[in-house]
Symmetry: C2
Subunit: 139 residues, 2 copies
């Protein structure tokens, strides 16, 4: 059984849930990096349903920073099921956090080859999720 | 490219997001069946972090029925990425809905062999999610 931090580092995708202005939950799959109880995820160059400034995840966290991230593993052999639920606060990195922004971009590019091949621009908006609570479950 | 309804029928796991009393989002992976714009998911016999009546997903929907379900596909070949985001209302099936409850149990057992092998009891609580809106994305 892998440790929680190894699972979080290895996972390629997480499910990111925010709450909209009228209290409706929203979820999208996101690429991410995890280091020292902080997650970073970018508004990358994959096609989006809306321009960056209108993306539900960004609008939502600006009004209500409380979010959840789920990292999980499914297979039909249920003895191998597990999930990790992260609760925390999300914030769009401000221009003043230029150094942290650059570090996050570099870490995302190190993890995902696609991000080194043009799918992530150096000025991409970065969301920082600060962990408040991690719960984990496995069969 | 498969149709949305084929993707929804074929998927083995969904990510179910609810909102807690203090407005915090919560997510768990769930097994489910989908038929005619309704999803059913059960409180099954997999080990749980809390007894059924205290499960966050059940407490949450009783106070705030607005939920989201994400069904998605990730692989490192990003040309094959897709997701389907379902927004709707969730309700614990009441005792009076005995026929619908039985149909849902049978459909879950037909889809998941584990549910035919003791992982789902005939009296398991069933959550019905009525679809209000489906949005889909693919690369």
């Amino acid at each position: 059984m892998l440790s929680i931090s190894t699972k979080l580092k290895n996972a390629r995708v997480a499910h990111f849930s925010t709450v909209g202005p009228s209290g409706h939950p929203h979820i999208v799959p996101v690429c991410f990096v995890y280091r020292r109880r902080v997650f970073y995820t970018a508004v990358d160059q994959k096609p989006k349903r809306a321009p960056a400034q209108k993306l539900a995840r960004l609008r939502n966290i600006q009004q209500w920073p409380q979010v959840a991230l789920l990292i999980d593993h499914y297979e039909d052999d249920w003895r191998k099921l597990w999930y990790i639920l992260v609760r925390g606060k999300a914030k769009l990195l401000p221009k003043s956090a230029a150094k942290e922004h650059k570090t996050a971009i570099r870490a995302l590019q190190a993890k995902y080859p696609q991000y080194r091949a043009g799918m992530l621009t150096d000025d991409a908006p970065i969301i920082r999720i600060t962990v408040e609570r991690i719960t984990s479950w496995h069969m």
